[in-house]
Symmetry: C2
Subunit: 370 residues, 2 copies
């Protein structure tokens, strides 16, 4: 077994926040840290060199998308995902569960697995826990995720409990199916908004002594106060000496609060998605640079930001690129937005190491959640 | 007057080719050299850092496009084009003449100037020689171009001669209108396919002792053998001690032959336009990376190419990005294609300095032109 240890460096005296280092075969992840999403083996519009400059350590990619295009065989022939996408650092692949349930023309869900029609070419595809792991073994990320059933919000307790039980059964099959010792298989705590189900799921997973744990099913369609409650009650049930990953969350407030509850890493498509809508993230706000007020604004997006964009280009210039529909606008905004979210988590990390997290981030921790 | 001298370093013993250094207030241009085009104050999908790595020295931008969006006032308020687009090196702005004639809903051409309807917002716009220079003075490029009338191919000798005479009259008004000593105003030799008209135009321009000369009206819709004949007979009529610029040309053969006739610099949108069609330039060929044969081709585009793309990404990866409609594909292909054309002209420059141009580039110089 390779080293996937999580080294605890500091704990906040008055919250659950912690700073640490997660080890992988392709390098370390200093936590807390935001992880950019490269769904199709690239973070949209930015190069790996830009990602490195932005402070990215672990990046995500997606089993569902890569299975459909180009197919895991091609990635494996290329020498694995790190070489294929030219990202030498740590990579995590999501299992495809969430995408099968949210993006596909789903045909059946049984204990065996799921059947769906490919949105690319219409062919029927079977994904079982074994298949998801086979694909992820071929892709070769450092961290791979168990295949899970994601019950959508509002389906009721019985459906959530059934999905949770099935996810647990699938997890055990994933563990048996995993062929590679240089990939860490993480389990995903499900259970919807039901805190007792979350607690039961957490206990089941902890008993399996996995190399890391994720909290899933909280990102899409779920109200922020429910996410906060779930994380608050679930994170502390996970072992101190394992990495804790909150899936699909990337807003300032949700990250700050989740870190306060003991979460270490996050992923979200928001920085690149906002960029494609012309928006910049600035200290918790979203600025739409297509807005008329930026046409003659010759300041950088954020004077204090060290990113390539803020070192070189004015708001007026990016506004001009957006009005001209020049694709470079998306690259420059993505570089800034990714840097901004990573630096937000890096500043939190530093404040935890300094013992000042509770005070420094009171703005995010104390405001009511809407 | 600032220094815009052209320093001749070497002349080919058996062709008209020459190597030199052109001086500008923002740095030098080692010639021969291809110049990337940044129409709207950006070279599509690439950052200035990418351009620098690609070996770019002088880059182009466009008076017509920048007048429509964002407007020259905004660029001037930003501190000029160099600062606005974060390109600290030499910049050349085309006068807008070519674009007015090729892209606009043109309403009238008189000796005074042209009237057209803006394709952006439908308002009527007047561009006179004085207005073109006023805009270019506000933009602040190192080299600015005289406003010219471009007669399309096939209009006949009388129309070409009339456009040429009008262009000469406009040039003299441009010279009077130019307010800045730190910008070099280049004249454009017109005259269509008529070698005697080209010779007359060249003589008229040389008499004005301009800081540099362009050959225009050869790039769009004109047959390669006509371009070659025009350049062959026109370039030697221009002074040895001034930069010679062939407008809108960027194919391997046309550049190599034009250099053999004594041309120093070129511009063309082809490297970025091909990139957006999924094509890579490789040693004179165009490869469409969407072609099925590249799906499992794990070589770099060009093993010998020093560009960021060829140092990191396989043909299979770029094929995957194209099939996934990921915009990063256009960035990676643009980086490669721009590097490829600049390096092609850099290799020619080196061979001229070595005295081996005629032999080294015989492939391009001797093949018949179709």
């Amino acid at each position: 077994m390779n080293d996937f240890s999580f080294e605890l460096q500091a704990q906040c005296p008055d919250t659950g926040a912690r700073a640490g280092v997660f080890h992988t075969p392709h390098g370390i992840v200093e936590t807390p840290r935001f992880m950019p999403v490269g769904t199709l083996a690239n973070v949209k519009t930015v190069t790996p060199a830009h990602l490195k400059d932005a402070g990215a350590q672990m990046v995500l990619s997606n089993t569902y998308h890569l299975h459909l295009q180009p197919g895991e065989d091609i990635v494996a022939q290329a020498g694995g995902l790190h070489k294929f996408m030219a990202w030498p650092g740590p990579i995590l692949t999501d299992s495809g569960g969430f995408q099968v349930f949210s993006l596909s023309d789903l045909r059946s869900i049984t204990d065996e697995g799921v059947k769906f029609r490919s949105p690319r070419d219409g062919r029927m595809i079977n994904i079982t826990p074994e298949k998801s792991i086979e694909i992820q073994n071929a892709l070769g990320a450092d961290v791979i995720m168990a295949f899970d059933e994601c019950a959508p919000p509002g389906v009721g307790r019985d459906a959530v409990e059934q999905a949770m039980d099935r996810t647990y059964g699938w997890l055990k099959r994933c563990i048996s199916a995993n062929q590679r010792q240089d990939q860490a298989l993480f389990g995903i705590v499900q259970g919807g908004e039901y805190l007792d189900l979350r607690a039961e799921a957490a206990r089941q997973l902890v008993d399996l002594d996995l190399p890391g744990y994720a909290i899933g099913g909280v990102s899409v369609g779920e109200a922020p106060e429910i996410i906060d409650q779930v994380v608050k009650h679930t994170a502390p049930l996970l072992p101190d000496n394992k990495l804790r990953y909150l899936m699909g969350v990337g807003s300032y407030r949700e990250m700050a609060r989740a870190i306060g509850h003991g979460i270490d890493v996050f992923d979200c498509v928001i920085p690149t998605r906002l960029a494609r809508h012309g928006c910049a993230l600035v200290d918790g706000e979203r600025w739409n640079l297509k807005n008329a007020r930026f046409r003659e604004d010759f300041e950088m997006i954020d004077q204090g930001c060290p990113c390539y964009t803020c070192q070189n280009f004015s708001r007026a210039y990016i506004s001009h690129l957006l009005r001209s529909q020049e694709l470079l606008a998306y690259t420059l905004l993505s570089i800034h937005n990714i840097t901004e979210l990573i630096h937000f988590t890096q500043r939190i990390r530093q404040s935890i190491l300094n013992g000042t997290f509770r005070q420094d981030f009171a703005r995010w921790l104390d405001e009511p959640i809407h």
